[in-house]
């Protein structure tokens, strides 16, 4: 972090001049606000930050942030972020997207990114629905939520992203609520600062397909217990919570990914010599 030498930044320095296409009322506006505030608090130069996403309403966020951005294909944001961070360890890499993008089509990369523990921050705007494609159930959707594609509900118990993150080896696991931008900003600051893979689930209502989610503001509550660095304890806690428990739920101390022996000790001519008989 270069916060101490960097000039002071305002949240608005991280906002681009492109206006979101999101529905008024969408929780993602709040997320955008929190992300820009967090970056300003960290004081990282906008050009040293990259924000990578997949496809979905939430995945539109890179264009709205005045950093380097990549709006990739559906479900593949984490590999792009991983490649970028390994190739360019000097950058601050944020990866962001939705619950469908991250936990359905992107579920494999999610697990493996946690396991790889590269120093990036992954933000999932979880609205328990596929917004962009008009309201199909996502892995976090309640089993009885009725929709055209799953009339009467899927009947499937929802996916626990935070447990999966923990079990897979993420080094920082938190849940926040978009409608609480201060706390969200705070958590994001911590997540970005924490070494290794940080995962932040932001409950972010979809007012268009899940208008019931406006009620989330009344049910979210602060985690009753202290954060822990014991993954087994954290997992047990999260597996038994109600999904609306807000806060930093795990802050681990596993060493972040580092490739050993990566020093330019040779050149391509020398490498060619290995084939000489």
């Amino acid at each position: 972090m270069t916060a101490h030498t960097a000039p002071a930044f305002k949240a608005s320095d991280y906002k681009s001049d492109i206006k979101p296409v999101w529905c008024p009322g969408c929780g993602d506006y709040h997320v955008l606000l929190s992300v820009t505030r967090a970056l300003a608090e960290l004081g990282r130069r906008p050009e040293d930050v990259a924000c990578i996403s997949g496809i979905g309403c939430s995945s539109r966020i890179p264009a709205y942030v005045n950093c380097y951005g990549f709006h990739g294909v559906h479900g593949r944001s984490l590999p792009i972020g991983t490649g970028l961070k390994v190739a360019r360890p000097d950058l601050t890499v944020l990866v962001a997207g939705g619950d469908g993008d991250g936990f359905s089509i992107g579920g494999n990369h999610f697990q493996h990114a946690c396991r790889r523990n590269i120093d990036i921050t992954y933000i999932v705007m979880d609205n328990r629905v596929y917004g962009m494609t008009k309201g199909q159930p996502s892995p976090t959707t309640e089993p009885d939520w009725d929709s055209a594609l799953s009339p009467g509900g899927t009947g499937l118990s929802p996916f626990h992203p935070l447990v999966i993150a923990l079990a897979s080896g993420a080094n920082f696991v938190a849940r926040t609520f978009s409608g609480d931008p201060n706390r969200t900003t705070e958590v994001l600051v911590e997540a970005i600062k924490h070494p290794g893979f940080s995962f932040v689930q932001i409950l972010s209502p979809c007012v268009t397909f899940r208008p019931d989610e406006r009620g989330w503001k009344d049910v979210v509550h602060t985690a009753a217990v202290e954060e822990t660095d014991d993954p087994a304890r954290a997992a047990r806690r999260i597996m038994t919570d109600d999904g609306f428990n807000i806060g930093i739920l795990y802050r681990g101390n596993r060493a972040p990914y580092k490739l050993t022996g990566r020093e330019a000790t040779s050149d391509t001519d020398q490498l060619g010599e290995m084939f000489a008989i």
């Binding site: 296409v21 505030r37 979905g56 494609t133 008009k134 706390r183 007012v207 503001k217």
Partner: protein, 184 residues
């Protein structure tokens, strides 16, 4: 939409935890700055969604709040206001009290809704300073708090007056026969 406050459970302390005049002024300033930001954001949203009447209204509200923000800085004079981080806020609720509630926005909303939004914001701001008046650590803080509280009371009155010009829209105001679109 329910009329209850955007507050709900928060782990952050409330105004009673504010320690100094400088901190108070910094909070008062952020209240206005956040309000400006929100109204501008709402105006942008309405522009994108072709609700130009509301875009203009929100832009106007943003203008008012911007004016207030400037005033606070002027009134603070040479007092050095601390730069607050999100973890420093003492709203006692999720957001700065005068920040309009983004989750209540709707692309078909009417001026009545916008003014209701503004009204709730002003009332929350009033409540914030009212609480501060009660818990101020010293007289100077109390004095400032009272001043701010009165201003907010005035704003509440203004918005209420404006509201009389706009009837409450029919119950089905948000109904849209046009279905949402499939994208991407």
């Amino acid at each position: 939409m329910s009329e209850d406050k955007a507050t709900a459970k928060t782990s952050q302390p409330g105004p009673e935890a504010i320690e100094s005049v400088e901190e108070l002024l910094a909070h008062a300033y952020v209240i206005e700055v956040d309000a400006v930001e929100r109204y501008n954001l709402l105006a942008d949203q309405m522009e994108v969604h072709n609700n130009s009447e509301l875009a203009a209204l929100f832009r106007k509200l943003a203008g008012h709040e911007e004016h207030h923000a400037k005033e606070i800085l002027e009134r603070a004079g040479d007092k050095a206001l601390p730069k607050l981080k999100s973890s420093d806020y003492k709203w006692g609720e999720f957001e700065a009290p005068e920040a309009a509630e983004l989750d209540r926005a709707h692309y078909l909303m009417t001026p009545w809704h916008a003014l209701q939004m503004a009204l709730r914001a002003e009332k929350r701001a009033f409540a914030f300073f009212d609480q501060l008046v009660k818990t101020a650590k010293d007289d100077e803080m109390k004095k400032w708090s009272e001043e701010f509280r009165e201003e907010e009371a005035e704003h509440v009155r203004l918005v209420e007056e404006l509201l009389t010009r706009y009837p409450e829209p029919a119950e089905d105001w948000a109904e849209d026969p046009d279905p949402p679109v499939y994208l991407e």
